[in-house]
């Protein structure tokens, strides 16, 4: 059996984390390759539905990352996002969607090393948790029906 390779999707803001991830690369820091990055103007734009859709399409883990508080390019996008994450996380927890599978972080444009660390540790966490089969079962309902 081949070892489980977590599929991880990262939603990051353009100004801080994306630049930070760039720096990770230009600094030649090696880190796990399991992550697919989607760039957004701001964490304030990262709708919770995007996270749900990621699980629905087969992601095992998700990273959401943006500018540190007070560093938002648009002044307050990340503050709004933080409130939304607090609420969303509470709701997911209530529903039994494993909140350990979503890593939120602040990574600035200067924190290339932190980005590598976030990705590596998230990959490790997800590797331990294993594939998100519970959600896959729910999302794959129609395909299961087909075999009936």
């Amino acid at each position: 059996m081949t070892e489980f390779e977590p599929k991880i999707i990262a939603f990051v803001c353009n100004w801080c984390t994306y630049a930070g991830a760039d720096l990770t690369g230009t600094s030649r820091i090696k880190y796990a390759q399991n992550v697919k990055i989607v760039r957004f103007p701001c964490t304030g734009r990262i709708d919770f539905m995007l996270l749900l859709k990621s699980f629905g399409e087969g992601a095992d883990g998700i990273i959401v990352s943006g500018c540190h508080p007070n560093d938002c390019h648009y002044t307050s996008g990340n503050f709004h996002a933080r409130r939304r994450w607090i609420m969303f996380r509470g709701l997911l927890d209530m529903l039994g969607i494993d909140v350990r599978r979503i890593q939120y972080s602040w990574v600035s444009a200067a924190e290339g090393a932190k980005w590598a660390d976030i990705v590596n540790s998230t990959v490790n966490t997800i590797r331990e948790l294993g594939p998100y089969t519970e959600y896959e079962k729910v999302a794959g309902y129609l395909e299961k029906e087909a075999k009936q």
């Binding site: 399409e57 129609l142 395909e143 029906e145 087909a146 009936q148």
Partner: protein
């Protein structure tokens, strides 16, 4: 076919259930959920509730699931392959505990799916459903089956109709060859027909209106204040249509995952504003009252005019489930 009547004793009924489960059949029966009873997949006789007038959901989903695959596809640059859902093997389902109104609803449903174009997916499912109905021994203010050519002991649509007799045993009326087959397979459980009169053991459902009169009145009632009046509290949800055992309007939707996907049929309701909305923004039924009128006219004028059958079985589910207490019987009797 000639109806066959038997007596089946209370303990034998449970044995019949166990025989069916034992032979690998899927059984849907009323299960208690809070104050409601819902048709649900049951595995053990003890899960079934007897304490219900009708279930909150109708039994139509066994032949017309709320989400159903019509076909699936697989796309590649060179070609597109389609897998026909009609080729799947549909499950044999026994509906246990349907009421006469539930069973009667299969008649207009089957009619809709077979008019002009035959829907073979529906028909394949329908063929595999066995209806073991139970006569009603109680009713409530919402029931009006007797006004739409049915009744608490009506046999149409059922394969077997059980009527509870004093003492807890049941009269079994076997209506169809399918029902006959079921009886033959467990013949030792059935005894010669009892003397007891069936009608005395049925609930009383008062006759509330004359269907023919309603039909005649509706012919000239398209513009009438009654539609506004009776629909004013309508919230525009779809619960009336979704609990209705006859309503069969649907939506067709595609769901894709990468280069694969499915083409689905999903329930829809004429009560939704989006139902008739054109992409241009034009909506032929702009107001909620026009939508309420459509629901009534479709059931009590259009279907009876076209197919000579009732488009409503009088189960009263729509009124019971309406969050705004809009009562269909009230609308009909106020015309």
């Amino acid at each position: 076919m000639q109806t066959e009547n038997y007596l089946i004793r209370k303990p034998s009924l449970e044995k019949l259930f166990n025989n069916l489960i034992g032979s690998g059949k899927t059984i849907f029966a009323p299960k208690a959920k809070g104050k409601l009873a819902l048709f649900d997949n049951v595995k053990a006789y003890g899960e079934i509730t007897e304490d219900y007038i009708v279930t909150a959901n109708s039994a139509k989903s066994v032949v017309f699931p709320r989400t159903e695959k019509l076909f699936s596809y697989h796309k590649s640059k060179e070609k597109t392959e389609i897998t026909d859902a009609a080729n799947s093997s549909f499950p044999e389902v026994i509906l246990w505990g349907t009421r006469p109104c539930d069973a009667a609803a299969f008649i207009p449903l089957t009619d809709t799916f077979n008019g002009d174009y035959k829907d073979i997916i529906f028909n394949s499912r329908r063929e595999k459903v066995l209806l073991l109905s139970f006569s009603c021994n109680k009713s409530d203010d919402y029931c009006f089956c007797t006004s739409v050519n049915s009744g608490p002991g009506n046999t149409s649509g059922s394969d077997v109709l059980f009527t509870k007799l004093p003492g807890g045993d049941y009269l079994a009326e076997v209506m169809t060859p399918k029902g006959q087959l079921l009886v033959r397979e467990s013949i030792d459980l059935f005894e010669p027909k009892p003397e007891e009169d069936k009608d005395r053991n049925l609930a009383v459902v008062a006759n509330r209106f004359n269907q023919k009169e309603i039909q005649a009145k509706l012919q000239n009632l398209f513009e009438n204040p009654v539609w506004d009046d009776k629909s004013r509290a309508c919230l525009g949800c779809g619960s009336c249509a979704y609990v209705c055992p006859v309503c069969s309007c649907f939506d067709i939707q595609d769901e894709a995952h990468g280069n694969k996907g499915t083409h689905l049929r999903c329930w829809d309701s004429c009560g939704f504003g989006l139902f008739t909305l054109h992409t241009s923004g034009h909506n032929p039924r702009e107001t909620q009252s026009a939508r309420w009128r459509q629901r009534i006219l479709h059931k009590f004028l259009y279907i009876p005019n076209k197919s000579k059958i009732a488009g409503c079985v009088g189960c009263g589910r729509c009124s019971r489930s309406c969050p705004a207490d809009i009562n269909i019987l009230e609308t009909l009797t106020s015309l």
